[in-house]
Symmetry: C2
Subunit: 388 residues, 2 copies
């Protein structure tokens, strides 16, 4: 009898959980007021979202080399947890046939493939509920210094993901933010950069204090650690996810080079200094792990095959690309790390393995994604598990 | 301890069931070989799929009156079970804002709103698994006498639904069929019409026997009862779902009128005769319930506001529409029935209530959907529950 009841309960729960996916838009309240917080990326995850790259005015050779790398990244993640690939109708059949069966493919219109910045930032409570924060997205600076126009499809991605999953959604009307510009420890601390969050193209009418308050209200953090600059001023205006990342509460990784000739030397030194001197929301002094930068620089290639367009930033061969190993993704039991065919590739894997001794560290060659303006963390959005 | 284990089991099952949605395409095998069968519509359902109407060359007044009715139908169904509304990117925000929160809205490109015919026909086995049959769709007759061109988005709807839900899919390459042209009793019997399945625009190179064999292989039926004609030769070529329907195994409903002046009098008489004389797969003589036709006819209105187009069949004011109460949808605990403001509306509800004494019968005014070429059953696709 008890066994049967157990089965009944299980089946009922499956049924309810699976089918009654009612997603509502919450206005006039914040996650903090409702007892939700953004968990650390290292906490248990449910799945990872990606968006299929295709726009020929950003990706070289019609996006075909990039698509191959996205498949490799998706495959690497899918060894650890489920992956859903979102794709335009035009590319649906192509994406479906190039991806393995265990990756779900779902149609979704988009303006480009940066779901870290267009997808929802998920928050959780201790009752096992998950909700999404749907920031306003304006292509990293809107009409001031954004990278393409229009961005209306991208701005709807977060809503559509929440709706698909039956996840209630906070629409943070008017507040522009991208997921790549923040990292949290899940215990009240957030790291970000001034270069990005105080940029003129995002929330020019808000003071630093007002921006901090928004982060505190929506992500339920108490302390914001401000790093001054990121490393890609002309692309994301310095997203923190190229610079630093929480390894676990009380510990961060920070990009590093000893070579004063490295173009990112000053940025590394400054970020390391800021993090080394900081204390977190719990008053802990942070342990800072150094993560090497690549030894050699990556420069734009193949720009001659990128479509000319009036509505997207042009690419130019020889321009400095922003190759950082920091743009890794933490998944359940693993870490997926960019590789560039650089002398320091192995060193980066070793250093990350040391930071995450209980996770399998997997490298994926992603130079092609760098050419399009980002890397593994930028092209993925992790959805935390509903745990109690 | 036992309680905890129970909870653990429940949560694990929720997790597994919800996230590991791997959908594969099955080729070289049939549902029958794999032990799957199409259940009767009266069996337990998981959810209902709909597609938002919008094309201005089919629906009058830019589809706005039709959209209002689709909302009413969706609301009526959602009182009994979950509804997912699929919608183009262009109409996503409009559909989302006009539908209540408890209806899931998901982007999906389409050519029109007839998900009964474009969606998968679901099959189940006795292990609690669900799969989809993805028939070839050619807009009810392709280039011979189809209603619009192209239909490539519609032909992908079944695949995309299966993929969304993690349901394995049989792609029945080359075999053209629509869900509205078949009804089954779940115990080996299928009813259909010759007018539709033997039409020149579908499978002209297949014999009646070969078509029967396909139905037997994919739906796991043993007997096909052929009604000669449907009532809408120029639209769906006589879909059975305007003519007859299984109420439960051994019992069918059939359209009926005593009035020889009714334009559907001959079709009613003939269908009734065929069904009354038929035996099902189990050798039972069928009980045939008479379901009244509307007393008055519905004629096309508003065609002057329908966009002119080279690639869709024109609409003309005054043309006879195909109003049948038979195009109802059975849901868990309910039946959703078309109403036309006709003298016989109440009689139809009473007759259907008598057939389904344990279900709540709900009427929805759907004359507007008739103007577009179908009704409640045509614009819905039920997904059976995974039961053991």
């Amino acid at each position: 009898m008890k066994k049967r009841f157990c089965l009944f309960l299980t089946v009922m729960c499956m049924f309810l959980f699976h089918t009654v996916a009612m997603a509502k838009t919450i206005t006039g309240r914040t996650p903090k007021q409702d007892g939700f917080r953004m968990p650390g990326e290292f906490e248990e995850q449910e799945q990872v979202w990606m968006v299929w790259p295709e726009r020929p005015d950003n990706w070289r050779d019609g996006g075909k080399p990039a698509q191959e790398v996205f498949v490799n990244v998706a495959r690497a993640i899918a060894k650890f947890e489920p992956v859903t690939m979102l794709v335009s109708n035009a590319q649906y059949t192509n994406a479906r046939s190039r991806l393995p069966d265990n990756i779900r493919v779902v149609e979704m219109s988009n303006d480009d493939a940066w779901v870290r910045d267009t997808g929802p930032t998920f928050v959780v409570n201790d009752k096992g509920e998950v909700r999404g924060c749907d920031w306003t997205f304006n292509a990293w600076g809107g009409l001031v210094d954004g990278l393409y126009f229009p961005w209306d499809n991208d701005d709807k991605v977060a809503q559509k993901i929440c709706e698909l999953e039956g996840v209630d959604r906070y629409r943070t009307e008017g507040f522009v933010l991208e997921g790549g510009s923040i990292h949290v420890d899940g215990e009240g601390t957030l790291i970000t950069t001034e270069m990005c969050l105080l940029s003129k193209g995002r929330n020019p009418n808000m003071s630093k204090k007002q921006i901090e308050d928004k982060l505190k209200d929506y992500l339920n953090v108490e302390k914001v650690i401000w790093i001054k600059d990121g490393i890609d001023p002309d692309e994301t205006n310095g997203h923190v996810d190229l610079v630093a990342c929480f390894v676990r509460p009380g510990e961060v990784a920070c990009i590093w080079t000893d070579d004063p000739k490295n173009p990112f030397y000053d940025a590394c030194q400054a970020a390391y200094k800021t993090l080394s001197e900081a204390t977190d929301a719990k008053g802990r002094k942070l342990k800072v792990w150094k993560l090497t930068m690549p030894k050699n620089q990556v420069y734009q290639k193949g720009a001659e095959t990128v479509d000319h367009s009036e509505t997207s930033a042009p690419r130019k061969n020889g321009n400095l690309c922003y190759a950082s190993y920091m743009n890794f993704l933490i998944v359940n039991g693993g870490v997926i790390v960019p590789q560039y065919g650089d002398e320091n590739d192995d060193l980066a894997l070793e250093q990350i393995q040391e930071m995450f001794p209980d996770r399998e560290v997997v490298g994926v060659e992603t130079t092609e994604v760098i050419y399009g303006g980002g890397n593994i963390h930028c092209i993925t959005q992790h959805q935390p598990a509903a745990t109690r």
